[in-house]
Amino acid sequence: MAGPLEFAPAIAALPFVSFVIALFFGRYMPKKGALAGITATAGSLLLAIWTYFTVMGNGEPHTEHLHTLVAVAEPFSLELGILIDQLSALMLLIVTLISFLVFVFSLGYMNDEGETGLPRYYAGLSLFSFSMLSFVMASNLFMAFMFFELVGLCSYLLIGFWFREDAPPSAAKKAFIVTRFGDYFFLIGVVGILATFGTSAFIGTGGTESFPALAEHALTGSADHVHTFGFDPQTWFTILALLVLGGVMGKSAQFPLHTWLPDAMEGPTPVSALIHAATMVAAGVYLVARMYGFYALSPTALAIIAFVGGFTALFAATMGVVKREIKQVLAYSTISQYGYMMLALGAGGYVAGVFHLTTHAVFKALLFLGAGAVIVAMHHDEDMWKMGGLKNELPVTYYTFLAGSLALAGIIPFSGFWSKDEVLYEALRLGLNDPVFMAAYAMGLIAVFFTGFYTFRMVFLTFHGEPRTNIAESPHQYGWNMKAPLVVLGALAVVVGLINMAPLAKLTGMDLTYLHHWFENGGELLTVEHYHHLLTEVSGVHHVENSTGLMLGSGALSLGLALAGVAVAHVLYNVPSPEEHTDKLGSIKTVLFNNYYQDEYQVWLAEGLTANVARAANTFDQGVIDGAVNGVSSVSLFAGERVRRIQTGVVTNYAALLTVGLVVLLVAMGLLGGWF
């Protein structure tokens, strides 16, 4: 079907145009490139909405070949193409929506604050939108990797936007290196997948099959042209899946590669909202969902994903409890929430994972933008202990922020509740059969309590109580361009959970699981049913039977824990002048505040170890290898210096040498020739 899908490439192309405009002509334009970005992302958003509704009415995924990077007959070509199906259409919608809102918000956050270097800022933001949208639309893993790297570049450029200070460039460097470390494994995975299957397509087109399908054939029957390099196919596919997972863990900030994300908060807050909360960090999770047909084949990989996810959810949540700065709390909560998504995907909850991705994108973008608004109001001071009582001064921000917080904490009926509940429910159903998943579920469940606590600790410290500084008493006010995005997102944070109200559907018998149905359409091999089939038939992963009691029990348990967390926060912090209760934790607080010393050992690995090894290698190189070279040369120089002294200039000496030489020669020849 022709029509809007023909324009799909334009969704990504528009921000690219605005990138070029902002970079080269931004400084001559009234808003320094912002208008170009807003126009472009608005256009993308409209196209994405159009695409979304087209996909809704159209079962088959849309694929299109765009550009052949390298064309060879054997073994595989490197191609760029687009794949629009239910998953990517949804993701396109999320990314374009938040990009658009962030561009609008930036008008207030950056332009009105009189920042310099705005063309660079908007160019970076536009380039990011382009890369992210291209990543989402990628039709094969190779292309996905390319744009996965490019979003990393944009992240680097935008974190380091304020390059004249010391911290942002350092944070940008750290972000890039840590994610690069993950991408190293991802790159091996991509190369390996291409070498194994001869294709990295997510979906089969024109007689060729996608690599998950080939892997499935290799496991179920026998497939030709699948080289497993001497490994058992199951083992090899698990290895490949885990290699790709390396990139996912880097980008989605999963333990132990999460350390870059809190530092990345050095970037401008709208950047944090767009890149480090809603979209780029989601790229990892999206990638797992994108190639879920491959992950579903490997129970080991799934268990690792789930366990890492559950652990990260809990681990990051505990660190979020003690942070002083509003963006740091949000950063750790982001890590924690992506842990939930990984938990869901690992536990076979494809829909739950994507559902949480969707709701989280909305409410976390909202929270970051809200935090940005607060930071502007506080004249760029992020310390929550210097805030307090802002709810009267900033009502719009307060109510929207509250909506986002309720969603994050998982309070019914806000969006976060529905998605987090489904994540935990899927994990529980699997956990009842398998202790590994049970452990992951348990960690996720405990994290719910911490989530409720730190979220509302943040809300109470920021907005409630008495103002603790002069600035907090009369904060800076800001215009519509910051309020409008907040309002839009606030409204969405309330309602977006309604797209998939599984417990309510169970209870009432009504058909309320819209998102489930959404993923039941689409390409045959990309539907949730097919994934379910793979999980049960090929991997032998079984959920316990879906029952109303279990579902409601699970929901009630997580809601109860979340409310308990909120209640504790209320008791401790919703007072006119709260104390630093976390000090009572003593040494535990120190550990938490230092992030379990994760940064320390990674910095040690990067600087203490590697730099010392490098220095040792340098000494070795200069001393031994170059020393050998110089040694050879000085040996010949020295020898020459000595030997030339035979040339005394005295004829007698020459004659003596001649004579001695002749005698020796004669004696030698005589002895050899038998003259004597």
Binding site: G649, V663, W675, F676
Partner: protein
């Protein structure tokens, strides 16, 4: 005042020994050697034969033709004599300021 010649060897004994060694080696070799009886030059004056042989005037005498070599030696002799005269002549008329090189020793002696 003359005394009989004395062999003042001093530090040159060692190189001298080399010459002695050479002689020893050669003598040892030669005395070991066995030569057939010499062919000799047959009857007649050797001097005449040399004269004839030098310019190959009598083909029966076994020898090479040295006419060209003779002429070249002639030229070389003349050249050597002229060269010797050139070398020996004091240069120019400034007898005091003749060219002197000092063998790299400076003027400190």
């Amino acid at each position: 005042m003359t005394t009989r010649p004395r062999l003042k060897l001093g530090s040159h004994l060692l190189p001298g020994l080399a010459a002695v060694a050479l002689f020893t080696v050669m003598a040892a070799v030669f005395l070991q050697g066995n030569f057939p009886a010499p062919a000799g030059f047959g009857e007649g004056s050797v001097l005449r034969s040399i004269g004839m042989a030098m310019f190959a005037l009598e083909p029966s005498i076994p020898s090479a033709n040295f006419l060209v070599a003779f002429e070249i030696i002639d030229v070389v002799l003349v050249a050597a004599l002229v060269g010797a005269v050139m070398l020996a002549r004091r240069e120019g008329n400034d007898s005091s300021g003749s060219v002197r090189t000092d063998g790299g020793r400076g003027d400190d002696r």
